[in-house]
């Protein structure tokens, strides 16, 4: 009895380590995607010059963009860690995947309200030019809405078929 319990305990520990490692990998990936790459990109844009024209944000706007990118990036990465370290098809993975998608919407929208979607620069002798990608953000949010529906469906599936999923998971 005790040996069977030890065996199960060992297996549980092994799975826990595997889950945590998976969480670390995906959490790290989200840190790179949501914080490091945008940070490098916006810092690069801050100093970029194309054909002698400086395309950059004001210092204040740059700081605002970086702040929101870091803030939402941290929460998204935390949620990604929690979701990916949870067992497959578990309710907690379903819940945190849904939360992550909702946070992704906020993250994308943060680009809009921090002013990152609108870049304006002056062409000497020609006038002012502004680039606005708000419409693209709207489209992204529309796609995310469909993803939210998909995640809600997944979550309800995990809740309804909980026992079946648990039994299938334990077929060693």
């Amino acid at each position: 009895m005790s040996s069977a319990r030890d065996k199960i305990g060992g297996l549980v520990k092994k799975t826990a380590i595997k889950n945590v490692l998976r969480g670390i990998v995906f959490g790290g990936l989200y840190v790179v995607i949501t914080i490091i790459i945008p940070f490098i990109t916006f810092t690069w844009i801050q100093y970029i010059t194309i054909c002698g024209i400086e395309i950059g944000y004001t210092r204040e706007r740059y700081e605002q963009i970086i702040y929101w990118v870091a803030a939402y990036g941290l929460i998204i990465s935390g949620c990604a860690f929690f979701a990916y370290s949870s067992p497959k098809q578990s309710i907690r993975r379903g819940v945190f995947s849904l939360v992550q998608i909702l946070l992704n919407c906020l993250y994308i929208w943060s680009y809009k309200f921090s002013g990152a979607t609108e870049a304006s620069f002056t062409l000497v002798g020609w006038g002012d030019l502004s680039v606005n990608v708000t419409q693209m953000i709207l489209m992204y949010l529309g796609i995310y809405f469909l993803l939210i529906i998909l995640k809600i469906y997944d979550l309800s599936d995990f809740v309804i078929n909980r026992e079946k999923i648990r039994l299938e998971r334990r077929k060693f």
């Binding site: 199960i8 305990g9 297996l11 549980v12 520990k13 799975t15 826990a16 889950n19 945590v20 969480g23 959490g27 194309i50 054909c51 024209i53 702040y67 870091a70 803030a71 939402y72 941290l74 929460i75 990465s77 935390g78 949620c79 860690f81 929690f82 370290s85 949870s86 067992p87 497959k88 578990s90 907690r92 919407c105 906020l106 929208w109 309200f113 419409q135 693209m136 953000i137 709207l138 489209m139 992204y140 949010l141 529309g142 796609i143 995310y144 809405f145 469909l146 026992e163 648990r166 039994l167 998971r169 334990r170």
Partner: protein, 127 residues
């Protein structure tokens, strides 16, 4: 201007604009609906306090590790994690000890003690 340097940018821009053109009538209204929802949630996220987000991140990571350690998801149905088994064992042990002491009469509750005293007094009076 960027397009003049690299023709691929033009191709990418054309693909993106055609996609936006096709999906815009369907997806943009949904996007607008999403924005209405986001505007409601946004005030709950403070500006100028990055430490709040760092704390949330830390809490999520630590709770993720702890919860996975206790419920990793591979244990058989009815299997209780070790922490709960130990807790149950301790509780049972304590319960058995208490019951044993009560049976021996070492640890009588106050009411019982009073009852015993009264009975003893009654017996003394009768004598």
């Amino acid at each position: 201007m960027i397009q003049q340097h690299n023709p691929y940018f033009q191709v990418i821009a054309d693909i993106i604009s055609s996609l936006i053109g096709v999906f815009q009538p369907i997806i943009s209204p949904i996007g607008n609906f999403m924005i209405a929802g986001i505007e409601v949630i946004l005030p709950f996220f403070p500006y100028g306090a990055l430490w709040v987000y760092a704390v949330i991140f830390g809490v999520l990571v630590i709770s993720g590790i702890v919860i996975n350690w206790i419920w990793s998801g591979d244990q058989p149905i009815g299997y209780k994690p070790a922490i709960f088994t130990k807790l149950k064992e301790k509780t049972t042990e304590l319960k058995e000890k208490t019951v044993g002491r009560l049976k021996k009469g070492e640890d009588k509750p106050e009411e019982e003690a009073e009852e015993v005293t009264e009975t003893a007094e009654d017996i003394t009076e009768e004598d």
